[in-house]
């Protein structure tokens, strides 16, 4: 866990890619879940944020 936060602080690819992946997965779950309309409404923003972040951070150093 400490190495994850350390990676975030030092702009390392692994940690930031993990964060972006979690955002994308959360966004897709929010889009397709049957529980709350409010989650569905915010799903696209979360997925978009995760996808853009993923594209950017994949250029960070290892």
């Amino acid at each position: 866990m400490t190495s994850f936060f350390d990676g975030l602080l030092h702009f390392r690819r692994g940690a930031w890619e993990m964060l972006a992946s979690v955002l994308i997965a959360a966004g897709v779950f929010m889009l397709m879940q049957p529980f709350a309309l409010v989650l569905y409404s915010w799903s696209f923003l979360v997925t978009l944020l995760g996808t853009v972040m993923f594209i950017i951070v994949s250029h960070f150093p290892e």
Binding site: I24, G27, L31, M32, Q33, L37, Y40, I55
Partner: protein, 315 residues
Amino acid sequence: MLHSPVERVAEATPHAIAKRFRGLSDRSLAWLFVAPSIVLLLAVNIFPLIWTIRLSFTNFRVNRPNAEVEFVGLKNYISILSDKDIWLTMQATAHFLIWTLVLQVLIGFSLAYLINKKFRGNDLWTTIIVLPMMLSPAVVGNFWTFLYQPQIGLFNYAVGFLTGADPSSFSMIGDVSLAPWAIVIVDTWMWTPFVMLICLAGLRSIPDSIYEAAECDRASKWRQFWTITIPLVLPFLMLAVLFRGIENFKMFDLVVQLTGGGPGSITELTSINLKREAFEKWRTGYASAYAVILFVTVFGLASIYVKALNKVKQR
């Protein structure tokens, strides 16, 4: 005396053309060869994508080309993301996607595992199993509507025979609770062979020497399966899930032929709903925003999936 074909081609090239190309560097030549593909990609993929994003912020309707096009900002996106009907189509798509992937992976891998064993008629069975994926989705959709007929359908007859239920007492594509499963069954029937083929390629790429070494170490069959077979087939399996996942996310033809999105809109997947918005209601701007949402979703999922695939390959 010219020896190689390359020398003969070089000799046969007209002097004027040869002179023009001799002046180019390797890098320029590489760009020259790649340029047609890049131009085609820009024209067919990138330009429509950018144009769709642009249209998604307008109220443009393609059936009214002379009407004034207004910039509506995020209105289309807000409208889609607060629409309960579209939310329901997303749930229908999720149901279809999850169940088809689970069933296709389980059955496809099991079939591949069986087919990989050496037995008589192995090739014949492979050909028979692969037949459904060679058919057109339109044809498959049409003939499954006959198989699902409550009075004359073979599917209902088989279920009745196995369970003792009256075959005409249920309708797979007319019943709200059964229709989502009807499309899952047909897609699984059609595309399990594809997953099987990919898994079979993975299984056949495992050298026998690894199993022989495991046998020498007295590893049980069960242990060999979990520590050799599964890890080495996993990249192939993940590739199959990626292909099927993306394909099923945009599933259209099979479901349209089979249920038309009905009964009601219970099997209306996102691509069917999108087509209705774009080409029946002619709300082009709105449909463009809808398409952008689906694109970002698939793109995001594919990105993390490819990353996971690379990690598994590196192991």
